[in-house]
Structure formats: structure tokens, C-alpha cells
Symmetry: C2
Subunit: 121 residues, 2 copies
């Protein structure tokens, strides 16, 4: 019990301390006015499947705009993808699963913004 707790504590501490230095890939989309809800849902689903298909992804989350200040420039979706380092993203970009995702995305995409950074405190 004691040993298990020590192990669990160390593992959890490690998970938290990794927050600094991770490589973040922030992706935002605005879809075409002609995009149907089913097409948008297909993009959301397909993006969410990439972390299980590309093993350099270490964390993933997403959400839709709940703007308070109205400064989101029409962008409605944000996908926040984390890699251990920049090399992880460089593996992800040309990956066949990412290319297949773009086939679903591009027909309904109005504009995209992508910001990559190394997380600092």
C-alpha cells in the first residue's frame, strides 16, 4: 500500500511537472457558411481520432468559441494538441492520418490559424 502510494505520487508529480517545456500546437478553424452540421461534426470526430493514430501526440483537448470579448475573428473551433517536443509535431504534420484528416477538413474550411510554441511558466 505504502509503496503503491509512493509510486502513484511520483507518477502524478511527474505528469504535472511535464507541463513546462511541452510543445503546443494550437489550431483554430472557421468553417464555410455552406458547411453542414454533419460535415463539421465529422471534422471534430476525425481530429479527435488523430491522437490515437499518431503516437507523438501526448495530450489533446478541444472546444468551441465562448468568446467574452468578441476578438476571435470569426474562428469557431480550437484544437489544442501537445507534443513532447517540436520533433513530435514535425512527425505529425506529414503523417498519413493527418493527410487523411485534411481531406475531410479542406472542403469545408473557410480559414485556419495555427500557433506553435514551447510552454513556459
Amino acid at each position: 500500500m505504502l509503496k503503491a502510494l509512493i509510486t502513484a505520487t511520483l507518477m502524478l508529480s511527474s505528469a504535472i511537472s511535464q507541463a513546462g517545456g511541452e510543445f503546443r500546437h494550437v489550431v483554430m478553424f472557421k468553417f464555410k457558411d455552406t458547411a453542414t452540421p454533419a460535415q463539421v461534426a465529422a471534422v471534430e470526430k476525425a481530429f479527435g481520432e488523430l491522437p490515437s493514430k499518431i503516437d507523438t501526440v501526448v495530450a489533446y483537448e478541444w472546444g468551441t468559441s465562448e468568446s467574452v470579448e468578441g476578438m476571435n475573428d470569426g474562428l469557431t473551433h480550437c484544437f489544442f494538441v501537445t507534443f513532447k517536443d517540436k520533433a513530435g509535431l514535425e512527425t505529425y504534420i506529414p503523417h498519413p492520418a493527418h493527410a487523411a484528416f485534411k481531406e475531410i477538413l479542406i472542403p469545408i474550411l473557410d480559414k485556419a490559424l495555427v500557433f506553435d510554441y514551447t510552454a513556459k511558466d
Copy 2:
């Protein structure tokens, strides 16, 4: 010792499980070409002091653009601020410390993009 470890484990588990559902405030800036490095550094420092001044901020990180695909639209800085919920951001926006920060920011700001979302898996 055992009690302390159990407490630490529960606290850390709690910290991790909060990842879903947290409210994210993603702020990106492009500074004017006339902004000096000292002015930019002052904005970076002032933004980083907001979490200690506004207690609804539960997590904070930032970084500068390391674009892989060149889709960052000229934006050079990203600040990623987390609140427990949207009400936390609504407290933050009109807070005097935030207003004082904007006094430093606005003179050198070319453009800003802000995206707010509730984190989902």
C-alpha cells in the same frame, strides 16, 4: 508519512482530473514594428504577473511562435490562461490589474486574437 502521501496523491489526482472542463483563454499578439525589445519584454513580464494578482486564474503558460506551417498570421506571442469556469474570466477581464496591463500593452499592439473555450477531451 502515509497520511501525507495519501493526501498528496489525492491532491495530485484532483489537479489532473480537472483538465477536462476548465475554461481556456487563449490570447495571441502581434506587436507593432516600432515596438522595442524592452517594450515587448515589459508586456511579457506584466502578463506573467496577472495570475498572482487575479485569483480566478488557476493555470498560466506562454510562449513565442515556433511555426512549422507558417499559418500564424504574423502573431508572435501566445498566452494560455486557465480559469475554473467562464465566470473566472468574467472576473479577470474588468479587474484593475488587467486594466493596468492593457495600459502597457495597447501602445505597442498591432493586433490581438483571443479565443475562449471550455476544454473537452
